[in-house]
C-alpha cells in the first residue's frame, strides 16, 4: 500500500519532468528553425470564411473564435448523432429479437450492411449520392413556399426572437418540468394502484396557462423570417447544409448498427425468468420490455454503449472529407495551414477531443452507477 503510493508519486514526478523537458525542447527547436511558436495566433484575424457557424462569425474574427465555432459544430453533429443512433439502435436491437421472422431479418440485414461498409464510404455515398440528385436553388423543391430543398441544403423559416422572448423560454422550461412530473406521477399510480392517470389533458392546460402568462408579460416578440430566392441562393431563414445532413446521416446509421448488437446482447443477458415473471404478473410484452428487461439489460449495455458514443464523436472528424467545418477541419486543417504551427494546433485539437471523451465517459459512468444501484436493489 505504502510502497505503491511512493512508486506512483515517483512516476508522476517523472512524467511531469518529461513534459517540462519536452516543451522546452520543442520550443528551442522551433526557435532554431525559425518557426513561430506559442499561442499568440489565437487572437489574430482568421481571414477565411466558414460555411456553418452556430454563433456570429466574420472573416474579421480571430482564430480563437474559429476554435469555438469548430467545437460547436463537432458538438452539434455528435450530440444529434448520438441521439439518433441510440433511438435507431435500440429499435433495431429489439427488432432483431422480435419473434416476427420478417422484422428480425430486416434488422439483421440492416446491421450487417451498415456495420461492414467503411464509414468514410458511407459519408461519401450520402454526400455525393444525395447531392447529385437534388435540384439547383432555382428549381428547388418547395414545401408550402416556406421550406426549400436544393443542392445548397434545406432552408427553413426561422423565428426571429425580439426582446421578451426569454419569458417564452422560461415557459417552455416550466412546461418540460411539468411534463416530467406528470409522467412520473402517472407511472407511480399505475404501479401502486393500477389506476390510469391523466397526463395529456393537464399538460395542455398547463401549456395554455404558461404561454398565456408569457404573452401577457411580453406580447408576441417573434417575427417569422421566411427564406426567399435572391440571385444565386436563398436569403433569410436558416440553412441546413448538405455536408451536415450527409455526415449526421452516415454517423447515425453506422453507429446504430453497432448499438443494435449491443442492445441485443444486453437483452439476451437478462435472465429469461424475468420476462416470464412479468408475463405472469400480467404486464403486456412492451411494458415488460420497458419496465423490467431493459433496465436490467442497461447494466450490460452502458459500458460498450459509452465506447460507441466516443467512437461517434471521434468519427465525426471524417467531416473534413466533405467540407463540414468541424473542429478538425477548421483547426487542424485550415488554421493549421494558414498559421503553420503544427505542434500547438495538434496539441489543442488533441486536448479538445480528450476533454470531450473524458466528459462523455464521466457522464455515462454516473448513469451506469445509478442503473447498477437500482438494478441491485430490486
Amino acid at each position: 500500500m505504502h510502497r505503491d503510493a511512493v512508486l506512483q508519486a515517483l512516476v508522476l514526478v517523472a512524467v511531469v519532468a518529461g513534459m517540462v523537458w519536452l516543451v522546452g525542447n520543442v520550443q528551442s527547436n522551433l526557435e532554431r528553425q525559425n518557426i513561430n511558436s506559442g499561442f499568440g495566433f489565437l487572437s489574430e484575424r482568421a481571414g477565411f470564411g466558414i460555411n456553418q457557424t452556430l454563433i456570429d462569425y466574420t472573416e474579421d474574427d480571430s482564430f480563437g473564435r474559429v476554435v469555438v465555432i469548430g467545437l460547436l459544430n463537432t458538438l452539434l453533429v455528435s450530440i444529434l448523432g448520438i441521439l439518433f443512433a441510440t433511438l435507431l439502435g435500440f429499435s433495431l436491437g429489439v427488432a432483431r429479437l422480435s419473434r416476427n421472422w420478417l422484422i428480425s431479418k430486416i434488422a439483421m440485414v440492416y446491421i450487417e450492411i451498415f456495420r461492414n461498409v467503411p464509414l468514410l464510404l458511407q459519408i461519401m455515398f450520402w454526400y455525393f449520392g444525395v447531392l447529385r440528385n437534388l435540384p439547383s436553388p432555382r428549381q428547388a423543391l418547395s414545401v408550402g413556399d416556406a421550406m426549400f430543398i436544393s443542392n445548397r441544403g434545406i432552408v427553413v423559416p426561422w423565428l426571429e426572437a425580439g426582446a421578451g422572448a426569454m419569458w417564452y423560454g422560461l415557459g417552455l422550461l416550466a412546461l418540460a418540468a411539468g411534463f416530467i412530473w406528470l409522467r412520473r406521477r402517472a407511472l407511480n399510480a399505475k404501479l401502486t394502484s393500477g389506476q390510469p392517470t391523466q397526463v395529456w389533458r393537464p399538460l395542455l392546460v398547463l401549456a395554455l396557462a404558461l404561454f398565456g402568462a408569457a404573452a401577457v408579460m411580453a406580447g408576441v416578440p417573434f417575427a417569422l423570417d421566411v427564406p426567399q430566392l435572391k440571385g444565386f441562393n436563398f436569403r433569410g431563414g436558416v440553412t441546413v447544409i448538405p455536408e451536415f445532413v450527409a455526415l449526421l446521416l452516415a454517423l447515425s446509421l453506422y453507429t446504430a448498427a453497432f448499438i443494435a448488437e449491443i442492445v441485443r446482447s444486453g437483452i439476451n443477458s437478462v435472465n429469461k425468468g424475468q420476462r416470464e415473471a412479468s408475463a405472469a404478473l400480467g404486464l403486456p410484452e412492451s411494458l415488460a420490455l420497458r419496465l423490467v428487461v431493459i433496465p436490467q439489460a442497461l447494466r450490460v449495455i452502458i459500458p460498450p454503449l459509452t465506447s460507441q458514443y466516443l467512437n461517434l464523436t471521434k468519427n465525426s472528424s471524417l467531416a473534413v472529407a466533405i467540407a463540414y467545418p468541424d473542429i478538425v477541419s477548421v483547426l487542424a486543417g485550415t488554421t493549421l495551414s494558414q498559421v503553420g504551427q503544427a505542434v500547438e494546433i495538434i496539441f489543442v485539437t488533441m486536448m479538445i477531443y480528450l476533454s470531450l471523451s473524458l466528459f462523455t465517459s464521466w457522464a455515462m459512468n454516473r448513469y451506469n452507477q445509478r442503473m447498477a444501484f437500482v438494478g441491485n436493489a430490486t
Binding site: F232, S337, A342
Partner: protein, 344 residues
C-alpha cells in the same frame, strides 16, 4: 505488472513525442550531403493536379513540378529517376517540410510573406507566375466575377485561395459562402454535382481541374484574376547552399531557353563559341563545383527535362489538354517575367 505496463506506455508516448519534437535542423551543405548519401531525392508534390504533378496511367509522375524535382535529381545524380515523390494535401505540405519528411516541395505553392518568414521555410525561386480565378457553368449567364454576389464557392482548404476569396468579396461589397474541401478531387466533384456556383483556385489549376469535369465544355473561366500567386518550390530554412542549388536549377533552364539551348541541340551547342553558352554547359568556369555538383550539372538537367520553354510546353502549353499560353511566364525578352540572373 499493471504498473509496469503503464510505465512502458508512458515512455512510449514520450519517445514518440520526442521524435515529433526533434525535426532535422540542417546547417549549410547538409541537405545535399544527406540526399547524396541516401541516393535519391525526397520530393513533395500535389495529390494530382494535371500539368503540375499527377500520376499518368502507368503510375509515373508527370508535370511542371515533377520535372522540377527530376531536374534536381539530374543535377545531383545525372539520373532524373532518382526521386521519391510524396503526394501532399495543401494542409499537410508545410508540416512535411518542417519535419524533414521531404527535402523539397514542388507543389503549386504560393510564395507569401507569412509562409516565407514564419514557417521556417524558404522559397528559392518562382517556377510559375499565376493568379486566382473563377470557373462557372456557362449556362449560369455570368460573364464577370463581379456578378458573383451571393454565390457559393467550392475550393481547397488551407490555401491562399480561401483567403483571397474572402478579401475579394469583401473589397467588392459582395456576399459569398465557401465550401472548402481537403482534397482537390472532392472539391471539383462537389462543384461538378452542383454544390457550388463557382469553383475558385489558381488560374492554371482551373484549366487542370476543368479536365476532371463530366462536361468540360459546359464551363467557362471568368476573365478576372484576383490575386498574385507566384508558385515555386520550397525548402527548409537554414541550408543556404541547398537553397542555391534549387534556385540555380530553375535558372539553368531559363538561361538555356534564352540562349537557345534545348534538350535536342545540346550536343551541337557544346561546340558553340558563345561564352554564355560555354559557361552554362560547364565548358568554362567552375559553376558546378561551387554548387557542390559536377561541371556537367546544367547539361544533365537539360538532357533530362529540357529548357524552361520545353518544360512549359510539354506539361501545360497550348498543345496539351490544358492549353495554357505562355503569358506572364514568357521570357523577359518576350514581355514575360521569367528572367535568370547571369551565369558568370
Amino acid at each position: 505488472m499493471q504498473m509496469f505496463r503503464k510505465l512502458c506506455v508512458g515512455f512510449m508516448v514520450l519517445a514518440a513525442a520526442n521524435l515529433l519534437a526533434m525535426p532535422a535542423v540542417q546547417a549549410a551543405g547538409e541537405t545535399l550531403e544527406i540526399v547524396t548519401k541516401r541516393g535519391h531525392l525526397k520530393c513533395g508534390v500535389s495529390q494530382g493536379l494535371p500539368g503540375f504533378s499527377t500520376p499518368d496511367n502507368r503510375g509515373n509522375w508527370t508535370g511542371i513540378d515533377v520535372d522540377f524535382c527530376k531536374a534536381i535529381a539530374a543535377a545531383i545524380f545525372n539520373d532524373p529517376s532518382k526521386v521519391k515523390f510524396t503526394p501532399l494535401s495543401a494542409k499537410e505540405r508545410f508540416t512535411a517540410i518542417q519535419s524533414g519528411e521531404v527535402d523539397i516541395i514542388a507543389r503549386n505553392t504560393t510564395w507569401s510573406m507569412h509562409r516565407d518568414t514564419a514557417l521556417g521555410i524558404d522559397f528559392p525561386v518562382v517556377n510559375y507566375y499565376d493568379g486566382q480565378g473563377f470557373m462557372v457553368r456557362a449556362d449560369l449567364g455570368v460573364t464577370s466575377a463581379l456578378e458573383l454576389d451571393g454565390a457559393t464557392l467550392c475550393t481547397n482548404q488551407g490555401t491562399t485561395t480561401e483567403l483571397n476569396a474572402a478579401d475579394y468579396f469583401r473589397a467588392n461589397g459582395m456576399q459569398y459562402e465557401i465550401v472548402a474541401f481537403e482534397k482537390a478531387d472532392e472539391s471539383i466533384a462537389a462543384y461538378n454535382s452542383g454544390r457550388c456556383d463557382a469553383y475558385t483556385t489558381d488560374h492554371s489549376a482551373l484549366y487542370a481541374q476543368k479536365l476532371k469535369l463530366s462536361q468540360p465544355k459546359a464551363h467557362i473561366v471568368l476573365p478576372e484574376i484576383i490575386s498574385k500567386e507566384p508558385l515555386g518550390p520550397l525548402v527548409r530554412q537554414g541550408d543556404s547552399s541547398w537553397n542555391d542549388l534549387v534556385r540555380w536549377t530553375h535558372y539553368a533552364t531559363v538561361a538555356a531557353e534564352e540562349l537557345g539551348v534545348t534538350s535536342k541541340n545540346i550536343d551541337k551547342m557544346k561546340a558553340s563559341s558563345n561564352p554564355s553558352v560555354r559557361r552554362l554547359l560547364g565548358l568554362d568556369g567552375s559553376f558546378g563545383s561551387n554548387l557542390g555538383l559536377s561541371k556537367q550539372w546544367a547539361v544533365n538537367i537539360l538532357r533530362a527535362v529540357g529548357n524552361y520553354g520545353e518544360i512549359f510546353e510539354r506539361n501545360v502549353g497550348v498543345k496539351t489538354p490544358l492549353g495554357i499560353q505562355r503569358g506572364v511566364n514568357a521570357l523577359w525578352t518576350k514581355g514575360g517575367l521569367q528572367y535568370a540572373p547571369p551565369i558568370r
